[in-house]
Each structure stands twice: as structure tokens, then as C-alpha cells.
Symmetry: C2
Subunit: 422 residues, 2 copies
């Protein structure tokens, strides 16, 4: 969906030759370049890293490590979306949510095994080398914690890293779980799997067999190299489009069972308690709904002055590909379509871009995306779906999952950008 | 192009339940996992890295740093394609070819400027911050040194890192050069650009204006973060599909001119001297031709025994998208289509996969790709195109660019894999 050159030219002319953008012009072509490097840096490295002038960093979440809402010693570390570019999240900056410990288990790939057992004809144990000989696929998918942007934290959040940083997008490679399950031989009674981690808390998750046989991967690689320790080295499940908690890291065991196992995580952290459910909890709510957010400009950015800016952000949905993204720069009165960066992939971050001339007045910037099933709701629309008064989101102390309302960013006259949701 | 589940099932059954692949089976489902992590590793890091059990490394090329064929103190560092997975090369492992110095210049992004001048109406100087405010695009493209796999080095090469490691693939983000040139205002006489680096040797390259206005990017980001120092931090040209030398790193100047400038690099390193040209040199030969190579199994790998293996590799072309890849496991007698990993993108690495049951006998593995204009040639066919005897490639001491013959890997009975080209 890259715009044609004609569109670009017209666009730049309309914006009065980048009005407001201070482009230095010089009177004559001197042939002299403005800068010459005086010194060289480090040697070419066998395994490179970023420039010493850059300092990209994940950020610990506001979760109290002592009382993170059910786990023991949970850790979360958020992707700096305010600096995100394109659709691939560098593996070094992929968000981390981990129950029970603040450090990943230190697993030796020579020793690690994956057990597949339960309601199967042939229980199997795989070494990593064996798994790597099997048919593999690579797919670009986002992961997202179900609690990404929960009101409890979002009310006090200033930056998009704090409001939405529990999501990242990678090229994952591994063996389709369907290959392994077929090889093990499914028994008729098998209708769920329980996937278990090798971490100290033995995190485990029940997943319906239909999904397990559809598009789930047993992944050993992320963005062209081994899965990183914080993302589950040497093996993790990738369960496209579903709550992050399903993507079991440090995967060591898959048991075929005839019902969900109601594991610690799924009973304490992830059920949805909503007033409309009349006291009952929604145990399972797998698919992540359509969500989008403007990453530039976003909370904490400061616009240096009026003139042209490219608004950009990310949209994603656990249900399908993103069909369209609209942007409003006037507090929701009018909406216009943003450009989507190709390729637009199913259950992957989708980058959108939107040309904007800021007139220096107060503005409210918002994005909303549409997937194959519907549109991202406003806070008010979401309250209606949930059967609550919108004030519920302002006041609840519960951790709310699947919270996907449109995120407004308020631009003030001095160019500051502030969280405008609450 | 992910295969349907039906195909997978049938395939696995045909291969007699992974014949030859030692999958441990256990007699009963014990419910005990085979491994429990005893200790935890380091803390979740703000900027993560790979597991301590992995050691991915670029490798210096065989080029003599004192006499690298024309430059002074050139450095080259090759991507470990034998371990490549998917299509994205980790930025830390992107190949490096650099003339004149073995270390990248240490450029302060606050101080760096890009000058656009020459045959333009309004010479312009951009800071990095100004460039980042302009309309941007992201695209996944390969880069490749024109000399990738030149016979001089390939004759002695053992691994695919040594035969083909001068290519990598990234998601690049930046401003279309057409936006900047349009803003500067092209004068009628302008027909070429000369792009210049801020490195100590002032590497420069002439590029026709038609390409400059088509799909060239002034890139500031690679795989979701700032371009790495070895790849041109803070700015580089990305010239999709063309010889790597055009993708000027540490970009500081673009001059609009009315003819190519015959810079040091383009006159000493990159002209093609071919017998068929009768003593004349081919000055410019921009587009990289279709090329493919099997990355697993490849030179230096050792197959542990007969049975099922997934052959995989990469294909790319500077002229278009890859249309198809075929694999032969019998020395070229028969060829069958490989699966292509979606999305298949223009001027990007394309991952292919091919199921193979090794019978334990000697085998010759080869891949050949087809783009929109033609098929990758055998060594003999390439010699014909060049008007030489095939023995020319075996004996020449010249560095040959655009050398894209099919690469055979010989599998011996003990499972060793050897370079079979010469």
C-alpha cells in the first residue's frame, strides 16, 4: 500500500513545501559536505549491537513485583513503542511477562526435552535437534498480554510504552504443533491440550485441540536466530492471535486431555469478571480483539513547532488481518483513512501512516482499526458491550483484560503530548 | 504457501513415521516432564541478547585485508547462512563490506547532516530529526555484495557462509529519496546522482536518476531500530535489488549531476571484465541476477544418519520477486518444486523448504530459482552467457562479480556435506 509517487508529490505541494519544517537551504552548491568523520569507532564485531548514541530500553511495568495480581514474583518489561519503526520488534526489545520469577530459566538445549503424552497412541519425547529436522514454517505474528493497557495501569500511564507496551511482533519459526500431534496419534477423547513450561512455577495453559491443530507453532527461532531466553529459549508455543498467556515459554510438556485443566494462571489471572455476566466469570476469552494506537506522536513526545508531521502507529487483531485504519486529528469529529504498510499480514502488527499539518492549536489524535469482524470501539462503546457505565473503567481496581478502546493523545499548544483516555 | 494439513499428514506417513529420526517413545504417560530447570539465569534485561548456549557469529572473509582487490584496508564480515532461519537476518549478523577502514565511522546523529545539491533548484541540508519528520516507508529487502560467491574465494570455501555470506535481508525504514529530490527541485540536466559516505575514504557511487526517483530509500532504521553502525548509522541509501556498493552507508551527500562520476569504487572494483566484451569493461551492471542456495544441509554440516530431513535455503533476485524454486537431490537429473514461505516479496530473501528422505547413499543437492525474467543458470550455462569456457571460472584469479551459478552440495556416505561447485 505504498503510495504512488504522484500522491507523494501532490501531498508535499499541498503542505506548502514542508511548511513549518525547518529545512536549511544554502545559496550555492559548494560541493563541500557538512560533516566528515574524524574518528572511527569499534571494530566490526562478530555479533553487532546498536550505536553508542542510541539507548533503546524495555521498561519494567508498574506491576508491584510483590503483588502482581496472583503470581509470585512476576516480572513484566515493556516494549518502547514510542520509538517503534516498521512492524518487526527487535528481539532485544520484545516485551516480557513472566510469572513466578524475574529471570528466565537457564535451559541447556542439549538437555532440554519436549514430552507429548496423555490421550495419544504413541507418547513421544523430542530433543531440540530432532525437532529441528522436522518440517518447519516461519510466520510474522504479534504477541500480546491480555492485560495490555488495563485501566489500573493505563490511568497513570504517560507514554505508549506504558499504555500499550505489552505487545511485540516477530518472525517466528518452528514446527507446526499439528505435525507433532499427528505423529503422536490423537485418541478420540482428546479435545484439549495442556502446555507446560520448565520455569520454576511450571506455568501451564489449557488450549482447545482445534486451535492446537490449526496454526500453533512449537517455535525455536525468532527473527532469524534462536528464541531469546526471555521469550522461552529454547522452545515456546506460538498461538497466533490469542492471549499472550497461551504462548507457553520454556515449553517442556504437552499433554492431550479431555477437558481444560483450570491451571493456576487461567483461574487466577485471566478470567474476565464483567458486571454483564451477573456474577459469573468468563473463563476463556482467547482471541485478542482489534486494537490500534498512534506511536508517534504519543505521550511524552514534544512537537517542536507547527507544520508537517507524519502520524504513525500500529494496528493488530487476533481474529484476522487488519482491513483499515482511520485517524482523527480533531477529537473524533472526522476520520480519514491512513496508509497501511504492505504486506498486511494476519495476526501481525500492521504499520499505518497519516500525513498531518499541525496548526499549533490544541488537538486530539486518535486511531481506530477495523478487522474482518468489526471496528475498535470507543471507551463508551466498549462500556456498552460490557454492560457497564463508562465510569466503571475510570474507577475499577480490578485488572481488566481485553481492554481495547481507542486511545486519544492530547496535543497542547506547547507541543506536549498527553494521555487523553481518562 | 504454507502447506495444508492434509499434505503434512500424508507426507509424514509416506516417510514411514519419520524413518531414521530417532524419536524416543515412552511406554506410558507418566505425567512427569523430562526436565525441570534447576537454576535461573540473568535478570530480564532492558536490552536483551541471545542465550549463553548460542554463539552466532559473523566471519571475516578470506579477503586479504592488506590487498582486498583495490581498496585500502577493506573489511568484510559474512552472515552465518548455515544457521539462517526465516527471511529476516538479525541486524547483529548482517554482512558487512567496507572499503578503506575496518571499523565504522563514529557519527553523532545530532551533528550529522545530509546535503542535497548540484543540479537542483534549492540545495538542502537535513538534520536527522528533520528527515524523521518526513513521510516514511518500510520495506523488506535483501542487500548483496556484487562479489558474493566470486570464484576466487568460492573455490576454497567450505561453508555457505563462505560461499554466499555477502547477503542479508532486513526491514528497512526511511524517507523515499524521491521525496527529498522533489523537494530540492530537479533541474532538467540532472540525470544521475552521486551519493557520498562520511567514512574516511569518502566512498561514493553514481546512480541513474530514474532509479533514484523510483524505489530508493534514505534509511535510518533497520529491523525496528536505528541502522547499526556497520550498516551506515545514522543514514544509508537502500537501493533495492542493485549491487551492494550502491547502498551508500554513512550517507552525507547526494549531488545531482548530468553523468556518472566514475568514482574510485566504480572504476576499480565493480566493472565487469568479460572475454565476450572483447577487451572492453562493462562499467555498470546494477541489478543482481536470480540466485539461490541451500543453507541446510550445506558445507560443514554433518547428517547424523539416513532418514527424513527438511532441505531449506534462500532465493532472491534484484530484478523482481522469486516465482519458483526447484530442488534436485540427484545431481540435477530431476527437479521438483520447493515450498516458498509467504509472503514472497520483491527484492527480498525468499525462504524455500523441501522434504527429503536420505537413503544414506551419496547425493548432490542443488537449488535453482526463477524470477520474472528467467532461471538461475548452471555453471556451464553461465559460461555460455559470458562467452567463456567453463574452465575459466575454475582458473581465473580475477574477482568476478554477478556470479550466480547453481551451487551443488555433495553429501557423502558418512553424512559430510562438501562444496561441490568446483
Amino acid at each position: 500500500m505504498q503510495p504512488g509517487k504522484t500522491g507523494r508529490r501532490r501531498f508535499l505541494k499541498e503542505s506548502a513545501a514542508l511548511a513549518g519544517l525547518t529545512v536549511g537551504t544554502i545559496g550555492s552548491a559548494s560541493g563541500q559536505a557538512p560533516q566528515k568523520a574524524e574518528s572511527d569507532g569499534e571494530d566490526f564485531r562478530a555479533y553487532g549491537s546498536h550505536s553508542r548514541f542510541e539507548n533503546p530500553r524495555r521498561k519494567p511495568s508498574g506491576m508491584d513485583p510483590e503483588h502482581p495480581g496472583g503470581g509470585t514474583g512476576s516480572g513484566a518489561s515493556l516494549t518502547p513503542l514510542q520509538d517503534s519503526i516498521g512492524i518487526i520488534t527487535p528481539s532485544s526489545l520484545h516485551f516480557v511477562v513472566s510469572r513466578f520469577r524475574n529471570a528466565p530459566p537457564d535451559l541447556d538445549p542439549q538437555e532440554h526435552r519436549l514430552l507429548i503424552h496423555g490421550l495419544v497412541d504413541r507418547p513421544l519425547i523430542f530433543t531440540l535437534a530432532e525437532l529441528k529436522r522436522l518440517p518447519s514454517v516461519s510466520r510474522i505474528h504479534f504477541l500480546e498480554c491480555a492485560g495490555n493497557g488495563s485501566p489500573v495501569e493505563r490511568r497513570n500511564a504517560k507514554t505508549v510504552q506504558e499504555t500499550h507496551g505489552w505487545t511485540s511482533c516477530s518472525e517466528w519459526t518452528g514446527v507446526p504443533l499439528s505435525v507433532l500431534l499427528t505423529e503422536a496419534g490423537l485418541q478420540k477423547a482428546a479435545s484439549w491440550i495442556v502446555a507446560e513450561s520448565a520455569d520454576a512455577g511450571k506455568h501451564a495453559k489449557s488450549i482447545p485441540l482445534e486451535k492446537a491443530m490449526d496454526d500453533v507453532l512449537v517455535a525455536y527461532a525468532q527473527n532469524g536466530e534462536a528464541v531469546r531466553p526471555e521469550q522461552g529459549y529454547p522452545l515456546r508455543l506460538v498461538v497466533p492471535g490469542w492471549e499472550g498467556v497461551n504462548n507457553v515459554k520454556w515449553l517442556r510438556r504437552i499433554k492431550l486431555v479431555d477437558q481444560p485443566y483450570m491451571t493456576h494462571s487461567e483461574t487466577t489471572q485471566y478470567p474476565s469478571i464483567r458486571p454483564i455476566l451477573e456474577g459469573k466469570a468468563l473463563w476463556f476469552n482467547f482471541e485478542m480483539e482489534p486494537k490500534s494506537v498512534i506511536t508517534f506522536p504519543s505521550g511524552g513526545h514534544r512537537l517542536p513547532g507547527r507544520g508537517f508531521y507524519e502520524i504513525t502507529g500500529l494496528a493488530w487483531s487476533g481474529r484476522s488481518a487488519i482491513r483499515s485504519v482511520e485517524v482523527s486529528v480533531d477529537g473524533g469529529k472526522t476520520w480519514k483513512h491512513a496508509e497501511l504498510q504492505a504486506p498486511v499480514l494476519r495476526m501481525a502488527h500492521t504499520r499505518f501512516r497519516f500525513a498531518w499539518n499541525w496548526d499549533g492549536e490544541e488537538a486530539v489524535l486518535q486511531s481506530r482499526c477495523t478487522d474482518e469482524k468489526g471496528v475498535q470501539p470507543t471507551l463508551t462503546a466498549l462500556a456498552k458491550i460490557w454492560g457497564v457505565n463508562p465510569d466503571y473503567f475510570n474507577t475499577t481496581l480490578n485488572r481488566i483484560n481485553h481492554f481495547n478502546p481507542i486511545q486519544p493523545w492530547n496535543v497542547t499548544r506547547d507541543g506536549s503530548v498527553l494521555n487523553g483516555l481518562f
